[in-house]
């Protein structure tokens, strides 16, 4: 009985497995693209919003137009090989190694999240794969770029993201909208710690008073004490360097506690469509990390296609950047007209790309212009501050209650 | 009351791993009869009761209650059949109250209908338990706990009641009281199979007795006859007493 049960569970899996092989075999001479990122583990939630749908969208878009243009005039479709790294860096390393040596992938997409991507960086480097990172947010981009000649960064540095928040606050204070009191909260994970460490001195330097400063561990079940403490400090602005689950929890608690602030900022997860889906219009005025030029045609077209192909909306920050990073790869391959990785890497370094995020050019292997702060305005998350003066920024507004 | 309801076992063999505890034991108990099994420590008395109650598996032999075979039944089915055990150390539920313990005794299908009736019977046999109904069993004295244990077994409306060393740890005074109540229980028509070390006092209330030594029955007789038999003393203290034939 027991064994039978197991077979019953295994059978559909085996079938599903063999089916993907079949459908792949029909395509002629595809370019193999490896993707190793989290489908399980703590990072899976974020990857399921930002990473995997874009992989799917990209594959669909490229193949829909017949594939990538080669120098010899032919078109080659792309085929994605996906692995789950279970949010385990050792598994990321193995998956990328497997892609490079076993599957002989032509190119490999950078893994999702800082730690996992950096774990894979030496492997990309050793096998000579260009690595266009998106969700790798660190202040070490310069060191890393010097160390690995094939690594690229697109989403920004922690210190700059933090500075963006501070600038937005300064702007509002100068407009006379808010006072000096800031409540600062962060998730005690590398991301939150780095941002808080950068934001604290920056805020003080600009004359802000940090009236409440707490961190909480990843996976904290009840953030009520944090929110209550923040509310009790009577801040003008609430800044939380948070991850998706706590972004949601903090927003909900702010409504419950009726946190009366002019600026409410939460980090990762704020630009997620599900954020709006959950809180509706109450989030108008909420600021968050990143942002897009929501009014640009490029983004709106992308948004539409994303919805059509993947059945879900993209977020208003990393999603589009993620897709843009794939476009970089796509245009570089077509520019070279082949799958010579060294040539593609050089092409990425020395050319300009037209992406959903606008025109991109890598300087010192880094994109120097990116959104740092966005804000929910009229049901859309719009960029309000950027590094490198991106077009389409809207003026920040203050938050008027939670109704 | 016919012998149909009696307990009988034949050639029961029990071993714990390599250690043989019973080497083929046959015992009978009729309803309304009080039978005592005597023997020194380690003779296999408890093993016999535990095997009958289904707590330890028997390797060989046949056990019957009336016409129903008991061999290899799980403990709860044996109780359901009408054979109840008061184990050594009482085995009451220390964290539950007296009345909860008693009511649990009537958990079996056969006993549910007569629960109130049996409860009244137990309370009339052990009036002390009435005033202690709500007390947590663990906090009572040894003698009272023993009463709870016996009462609980009686609540299952058994045909045959087995008791394993009920006098253990009781003062002489309490022991006498206990034996008097056992006689009263027997008089209600139950068969009782009693394992006891206290040979003289148990024989005084018993109808018949078996003498168990080293996992074997070495003698059986009417209680009065055993009381005078030097083999009994021999079984406990060894020595010069002549071994009794069969």
């Amino acid at each position: 009985m027991k064994r039978w049960l197991m077979i019953k569970k295994l059978l559909p899996l085996a079938l599903a497995g063999s089916m993907t092989f079949l459908s792949a075999a029909q395509a002629a001479e595809p370019i193999l693209i490896g993707a190793a990122a989290s489908k399980t583990g703590p990072m899976a939630g974020g990857a399921a919003v930002t990473y995997w749908p874009n992989v799917k969208l990209w594959e669909h878009e490229v193949n829909a137009r017949g594939g990538l243009q080669m120098a010899d005039g032919s078109k080659r479709p792309i085929r994605i090989i996906e692995y789950d790294d279970r949010t385990d860096p050792a598994e990321t390393i193995r998956a990328v190694q497997r892609l490079a040596t076993n599957d002989r992938a032509d190119f490999i997409l950078a893994p999702y999240s800082t730690g996992l991507a950096l774990a894979a960086a030496p492997i990309f480097d050793r096998y000579g794969y260009p690595m266009v990172n998106v969700s790798t947010i660190t202040d070490q981009t310069d060191t890393l770029s010097a160390r690995y000649e094939r690594i690229f960064f697109t989403l920004g540095k922690t210190s700059v993201l933090a500075a963006g928040v501070v600038d937005a606050l300064v702007q509002l204070r100068e407009a006379g909208e808010i006072g000096n009191r800031v409540a600062l909260v962060n998730v005690a994970d590398a991301f939150g710690i780095e941002l808080a460490q950068a934001a604290r001195p920056a805020l003080q330097e600009k004359g802000f008073e940090i009236v409440f400063n707490r961190s909480y561990p990843l996976g904290t079940q009840d953030l009520t004490p944090v929110m209550r403490g923040a509310a009790a400090a009577r801040p003008d602005a609430f800044v939380a360097f948070s991850y998706p689950p706590d972004t949601f929890a903090l927003t909900e608690l702010a409504q419950v506690e009726n946190l009366d602030v002019k600026v409410f900022y939460t980090a990762v997860g704020t630009p997620f469509p599900s954020y709006k889906g959950r809180f509706g219009d109450a989030i108008n005025g909420v600021m968050g990390v990143g942002g897009v030029n929501a009014d640009s045609d490029a983004f709106q077209a992308y948004q539409k296609r994303h919805q059509e192909v993947t059945g879900q909306a993209p977020d208003f920050w990393a999603s589009a950047v993620q897709y843009a990073s794939f476009q970089v790869l796509e245009q570089a391959i077509e520019g070279v007209g082949g799958v010579d990785r060294a040539a593609v890497t050089d092409y990425i370094k020395n050319n300009t790309f037209q992406t959903v995020m606008g025109e991109w050019r890598f300087e010192n292997q880094q994109i120097r212009s990116y959104w740092t702060v966005g804000q929910w305005q009229d049901g859309e998350f719009k960029g309000i501050a950027s590094e490198g003066n991106l077009p389409g920024a809207v003026a920040p507004t203050i938050k008027n209650g939670w109704k | 009351m016919s012998d149909d309801q009696g307990l009988s076992c034949r050639d029961v063999v029990v071993a714990y791993g390599q250690h043989p505890a019973l080497r083929g034991v046959s015992v009978q108990v009729a309803p309304g009869e009080l039978v005592v099994i005597l023997g020194a420590n380690g003779a296999g008395k408890s093993s016999l009761l535990n095997a009958l109650a289904g707590l330890v598996p028997s390797q060989q032999g046949e056990m019957l209650l009336g016409q129903q075979p008991l061999t290899d039944l799980p403990p709860h089915r044996i109780v359901e059949a009408g054979l109840a055990l008061v184990p050594e150390g009482r085995g009451i539920f220390g964290d539950l109250s007296v009345e909860e313990n008693l009511r649990l005794g009537a958990y079996s299908e056969r006993a549910r209908k007569q629960e109130q009736q049996n409860l009244a019977l137990v309370y009339s046999l052990f009036p002390k338990l009435v005033e202690r109904r709500r007390q947590i069993a663990r906090t009572m004295s040894g003698g009272e706990q023993q009463m709870v244990a016996i009462g609980r077994a009686m609540m299952s409306a058994p045909a045959i009641l087995m008791l394993d060393e009920p006098s253990l740890g009781l003062s002489p005074l309490l022991t006498s009281e206990l034996f008097r109540s056992l006689r009263r229980v027997r008089d209600t028509g139950l068969g009782i199979l009693l394992v006891e070390q206290n040979a003289r006092q148990s024989l005084a209330i018993a109808d018949r007795g078996y003498l168990l030594e080293n996992g074997e029955i070495i003698g059986s007789d009417q209680a009065a006859a055993l009381l005078a038999d030097p083999a009994v003393q021999h079984a406990y203290l060894g020595g010069a007493a002549a071994k009794r034939a069969g």
């Binding site: 996906e82 050792a90 193995r94 190694q97 710690i193 | -």
Partner: protein, 311 residues
């Protein structure tokens, strides 16, 4: 007897020597991708069963020690020399094991399991909190020039060391004492064995090894984060592999690590979406069908063959 042991020793040394040549094979990438995790889990599972095998204490604290080791290296890399850091990792891991062992080894099995399960989480929280509030460290970057092959060699060396130590312990009074304890702690006490000290000593040993492995592996990850260094999955994998192999022999865990790692690789490569499901199923197969471990099954078979030959 003596000669047989000598032959065995030479053979083992030979095998290790051959294994050490592995990174020199050209185009060895696929091999190395498999060899490094195998070597890592071999050290962890073997050292785990030095303690848990004879005592039957299921320790889920491997990740705690591993994480301590990884952090020791990550934080000390700019201050101390690499060998010194490995030594420090061993000392810290051993010290932590001593502390945990002394307080919790007198608890009964289940409590010990749950405490060790929580330990990695506890240390992770404390490290995070400390980092957040005091060092202000922005994650921990490990920039070294240590190559994959060097990591592999180090792990291989550690494995040889575990085997050597395990072999020595098995021949020593300490090993005899721990086997007696595992069989019957009461008898052990009544035979004059200091059971608490013996158990703690072996726990320290397994903790120290796990910490050194953590330190050795850290350079591979470039970036050390609490959630990764103290990943509970690591602890569980070690337990499954060791149990699968069999913990009653020194070489038992190895029999679990190698096939498990290979099967795992196959699963991860062919069913990328269902790895967790398959890990669970593998776990269940071990518990239900090979509770004695591969080593146990193997020995039974060998015994049968011998018996058949013998008559």
């Amino acid at each position: 007897m003596k000669q047989q042991e000598l032959i065995r020793l030479v053979l083992v040394a030979l095998v290790f020597g051959l294994l050490a040549l592995l990174p020199l094979i050209p185009a060895n990438d696929r091999l190395m991708a498999l060899a490094v995790p195998i070597a890592m889990y071999a050290v962890l599972a073997t050292s785990w069963s030095l303690f848990s095998g004879p005592t039957h204490y299921i320790s889920l604290a491997t990740a705690a020690f591993y994480g301590v080791g990884a952090y020791t290296l990550a934080n000390g890399l700019e201050v101390f020399s690499y060998p010194l850091l490995l030594l420090m990792a061993a000392l810290l891991g051993g010290g932590l094991a001593a502390l945990v062992g002394m307080t919790t080894l007198r608890l009964s099995g289940v409590y010990f399991v749950i405490f060790t399960l929580g330990l990695a989480e506890l240390i992770r929280q404390l490290v995070t909190w400390y980092q957040n509030n005091f060092t202000g460290s922005r994650g921990s970057y490990v920039f070294t020039d240590i190559t994959e092959a060097q990591i592999y060699w180090q792990l291989l060396g550690l494995l040889a060391l575990v085997f050597l130590l395990g072999w020595l312990i098995n021949r020593s009074r300490l090993g005899f004492a721990i086997r007696i304890i595992g069989n019957d702690e009461l008898v052990a006490r009544h035979s004059g064995i200091n059971t608490a000290r013996t158990k703690v000593l072996l726990f320290i040993l397994s903790g120290a090894f796990a910490a050194v492995v953590g330190a050795v592996m850290a350079p591979r990850f470039v970036y050390v984060e609490p959630s990764m260094a103290f990943s509970p999955q690591l602890s569980f994998m070690v337990v499954v592999m060791a149990l699968l192999g069999g913990v009653h022999r020194l070489w038992g865990p190895l029999l679990g690590v190698v096939p498990f790692a290979i099967v795992w690789e196959l699963i991860a490569a062919n069913f990328p979406g269902q790895t967790v499901l398959f890990m669970g199923l593998a776990f269940l197969v071990v518990v239900y069908f090979i509770p004695q471990g591969v080593a146990g099954v193997l020995e039974q078979q060998l015994h049968k063959i011998r018996q058949r030959r013998g008559g």
